[in-house]
């Protein structure tokens, strides 16, 4: 279902207060580790629901809580996890903090998984041919 969250590939916006800090940190956390954070964040149905909600546009924690059967502090905790995985960014306008979907991290995760689909498909094509050859041999009939 999470593939449905992916819209057109976006240009990643750098909303972070300290871009240098983000870049510095990203350089030091391997791509696999970043993906682990993304997969861990996506493993929760509530967080996937929040991401789905954010595909419609930026939203405050109040707006995000409305359709969910959980409290605002609980939603805030989920937002922290999503932010930690760079799946969302948060910006403050006056007293309201709005969450924004950062689809780049989702794309990275989807691409990682999808590469394996291609890997298995081409390997299994060869396995098909291999099994056919094997069954021509008398000892396997």
């Amino acid at each position: 279902m999470w593939h449905a969250l992916l819209g057109p590939r976006p240009v990643r916006s750098e909303r972070c207060l300290d871009e240098h800090f983000t870049n510095w940190l990203n350089d030091r956390v391997s791509a696999t580790d970043r993906l682990s954070l993304v997969f861990a964040a996506l493993a929760d149905p509530t967080r996937r629901a929040i991401l789905a909600e954010l595909t419609a546009g930026d939203a405050t924690v109040t707006q995000l809580t409305a359709p969910l059967p959980i409290s605002m502090p609980a939603v805030s905790r989920h937002l922290k996890v999503l932010e930690g995985a760079a799946l969302i960014s948060r910006s403050r306008e006056g007293k309201w903090q709005r969450s924004h979907l950062e689809a780049a991290a989702l794309w990275e995760a989807a691409a990682w998984i999808e590469r394996f689909r291609g890997f298995w498909d081409s390997s299994f094509d060869r396995l098909d041919a291999h099994l056919a050859t094997l069954q021509q041999e008398p000892e396997n009939r």
Partner: protein, 156 residues
């Protein structure tokens, strides 16, 4: 185990009996014949298989047309049911093709009988649970480095 969603699921039916398909995954000479990216080979003298619960499968993937690539595959088997299930963690490192970084993934192959002597293979793949712990450690190290970095910056 399904708590680690999202994952990858691939289902494929092979026109061969189950024992033969299972052997294609567990016999070094068989694995050498098909597993891996197009154009790759797996030298037999670098294959080491011990297929049983708690066992392992190790092999190396190289490309005759591109000597710069050498992927080392190490599979640690957790759950093995002869002819039916192979389950474990696959670690791939070395110089990988296509910009793939070294990675670990949990996988599960399940083999099922289909009518007319065919076999259905179900592949599931997801990040292993313990990677989460490694990540936390990764962040801790990063923050320790950041502390040191900030300390230096503050002085200068």
């Amino acid at each position: 185990m399904t708590a680690e969603a999202p994952d990858l699921s691939v289902s494929r039916v092979f026109d061969a009996p189950r024992a033969l398909v299972y052997r294609a995954f567990t016999d070094p000479e068989q694995v050498a014949a098909w597993w891996g990216p197009t154009g790759s080979v797996r030298p037999l003298d670098e294959m080491e298989f011990d297929v049983r619960p708690g066992g392992y499968q190790r092999f190396v993937t190289v490309f005759p047309d591109d000597p710069s690539i050498r992927a080392e595959v190490r599979i640690d088997l957790a759950d093995v049911a002869e002819g039916r299930v192979l389950d474990g963690v696959m670690r791939v490192r070395g110089r990988l093709p296509g910009g793939f970084a070294a990675f670990e993934t949990r996988f599960r192959f399940e083999f099922y009988d289909e009518p007319d002597g065919r076999t259905r293979l179900e592949v599931r793949q997801w990040l292993p649970p313990h990677v989460g712990g490694a990540t936390e450690e990764g962040w801790r190290q990063s923050f320790a480095e950041l502390d040191a970095h900030l300390a230096t910056t503050a002085v200068s």
